[in-house]
């Protein structure tokens, strides 16, 4: 058994906040169908509307602009597939426009939908990013000139943490008559967000990235923005998303947001300080590393580092033996043969992409955790580099 368990994979998912857990346990008894007219049904309905209000307030939206969904992937699918919803009677968002603009660094729940839309005949522009992960503005201008129906750009990247300037990007889209969606799954609760100030039309969020339960999320839909139902069936969510209300999930999501609205500023500052200590500690202790992402415009808890000459899965598994849980952009850990598409898009090159480790910190991490990682990591890297044909064989050199 390792001396300590240090979970630093909060961008993958988070543990329930104890208060969320408590709310969920209490919520177990609210079993009524929120669409039923009797007392128990109305009780469930009330809880759902309470959560909707909390979310709306937190995002600076109106409650009726919030649609509860089955998570981030569903929210993203709902928006992207509106470009061509396939219904003859539907007033789709396109109005004759059939293009989509997105980026090369989106989450698969955007990228793979974009590819699916491409197969259906929609033209898609995948914007490149600069080495820090920021969208290439020249490419964006060119793509907008083609009058796309929709732009979908993530607010903060899950792998490298880079935050985009959504306000500017959304304004540019609006000027060209395109609708704007942002995948804010990693950003909500970590950055202050006001949808109206940002001037966006759609926003996706998922509760399990913010100490809430899995399988529940929201889609913000600006009043007046086009909308096509993705999950057809009953009249729930004003006909915008069918399926018996996930009362429990929605209660948990509402609680998670309620807590974030109270604790966010303090928690963000605390986590950022821990991340900065970890970053500095790694830089001081380990040579030949590369920090991926943006130096300042980045999520508070995310640190993505490439270690020259060592492969990420090996690092991950050695760390796991010490009780340290992280993730990697290496191909070997992904089950595919390709390393992280995000890192490749930033131009770090396949070699460093294969050797990348993402530390993502959150509310249960302490300075002791950071110190523990700083104690274990250098010897692991040293050991693997000693074994590495790509680091310590002088005659082989380090291929460019």
């Amino acid at each position: 058994m390792p001396e300590r368990i240090v979970y630093m994979d909060y961008n993958a998912t988070t543990p329930l906040h104890p208060e969320v857990k408590k709310a969920l346990v209490e919520g177990f008894d609210i079993f009524g169908n929120a669409s039923s007219m009797h007392t128990l049904g109305r009780k469930a309905h009330e809880e759902i509307e309470k959560a909707r209000k909390v979310v709306a307030d937190f995002l600076g939206a109106y409650p009726e602009e919030i649609v509860f969904t089955g998570g981030g992937s569903e929210s993203n699918n709902t928006v992207l597939q509106m470009i061509d919803c396939g219904s003859a009677t539907c007033r789709c968002m396109s109005k004759g426009r059939l293009g989509l603009v997105t980026t090369q660094i989106e989450h698969p729940s955007v990228l793979n939908v974009a590819q699916y839309m491409e197969n259906k005949g929609i033209s898609v522009a995948y914007l490149p990013v600069d080495p820090t992960g920021k969208v290439d503005m020249e490419a964006y201008k060119k793509a907008l000139a083609k009058s796309p129906a929709l732009v979908s750009i993530m607010m903060a990247n899950n792998e490298i943490g880079t935050i985009q300037d959504i306000r500017t990007l959304a304004r540019m889209a609006k000027e060209k008559g395109a609708l704007f969606h942002t995948d804010a799954v990693q950003a909500v609760g970590k950055l202050p967000i006001s949808v109206h100030e940002l001037g966006i039309d759609y926003l996706s969020f998922s509760a399990h990235k913010l100490y809430g339960p899995k399988g529940v999320g929201i889609l913000y839909v600006r009043k007046g923005a086009p909308y096509c139902t993705f999950i057809h069936g009953g009249h729930q969510e004003e006909g915008r998303r069918a399926g018996t209300y996930n009362t429990l999930g929605i209660i948990g999501l509402g609680k998670a947001i309620e807590i974030a609205s109270k604790e966010m500023d303090e928690e963000v500052a605390r986590v950022r300080a821990l991340r900065d200590t970890l970053k500095k500690g790694i830089q001081d202790r380990i040579p030949d590393i590369h920090i991926n992402g943006h130096p300042t415009d980045t999520l508070p808890g995310t640190l993505n580092v490439s270690f020259q000459g060592v492969e990420g899965e090996s690092i991950l598994l050695y760390l796991d033996m010490e009780g340290i849980e992280v993730s990697t952009g290496s191909a070997c850990a992904s089950g595919s043969l390709e390393p992280s598409h995000v890192l490749l898009a930033t131009g770090v090159g396949p070699e460093l992409a294969h050797g990348s480790i993402r530390f993502s910190l959150g509310r249960e991490n302490t300075i002791e955790d950071v110190n523990y990682v700083l104690e274990k990591l250098p010897s692991i890297i040293q050991r693997l580099r000693k074994m590495s044909s790509a680091y310590s064989v002088p005659s082989l050199g380090r291929s460019a």
Binding site: G309, A331, P394
Partner: protein, 195 residues
């Protein structure tokens, strides 16, 4: 809780045998390097040979747990083995001794035996026994996506005519791109043959 890999893999990963740590003092009779770090794995194998038998085998790798464990196992197995026998060791055999690797990790374990063959070839070359060097059946062209010349040939037979066709069919060249030149050459050859 169960680990990702078998106990044997775990043991070889955590305590790899025969790692080449001091290359200056190890006088290799044969040295082989295969793979490329750009593609996520690279392997170096160094052997000592006496009277047609491998007396020592050391290695270094840039690779994942499967690559480390399988080469560690390989280095144990080939010690004391005749060159002819070692030449024909297969990844399946190493995999069996490791107690099995997950399906999607098997491709990570194939570099060890290739590097060993390269080391033996190197030894043959140095000792004037080139006649013993055998041509590989399929040669990996794209290390990143593990695509061989046979795969390219098949894709062309199935109608691929351009680099893009090939990429759509095999994903060749979609990661580091260093294989493009060789791929284009082979493409031309096969299109000439089957086009």
């Amino acid at each position: 809780m169960e680990w990702l890999y078998s106990d044997i893999v775990k043991d070889h990963f955590m305590n790899p045998r025969n790692v080449l740590e001091d290359e200056t003092s190890f006088q290799a009779d044969g040295l082989g390097t295969v793979g490329n770090i750009k593609c996520g794995d690279q392997m170096l194998v160094a052997i000592k040979v006496k009277d047609g038998v491998i007396t020592d085998c050391k290695w270094k790798t840039y690779g994942c747990a499967s690559a480390i464990a399988s080469t560690s196992m390989l280095s144990e197995v080939v010690k004391g083995m005749k060159l002819e026998e070692a030449y024909h060791i297969t990844p399946e055999e190493i995999n069996r001794r490791l107690g099995g690797l997950p399906e999607h990790k098997i491709h990570c374990s194939v570099l060890g035996d290739k590097a060993l063959r390269a080391a033996i070839d190197d030894y043959y070359r140095k000792t004037g026994q080139e006649d013993k060097i055998q041509k590989e059946k399929a040669i990996i062209v794209c290390q990143c996506m593990n695509v061989t010349d046979k795969d390219i040939e098949r894709a062309v037979k199935e109608g691929a005519r351009t680099y893009l066709d090939l990429q759509n069919k095999t994903k060749i060249g979609t990661v580091c791109g260093q294989c493009k030149e060789q791929t284009l050459k082979l493409l031309e050859e096969y299109v000439h043959l089957y086009g």
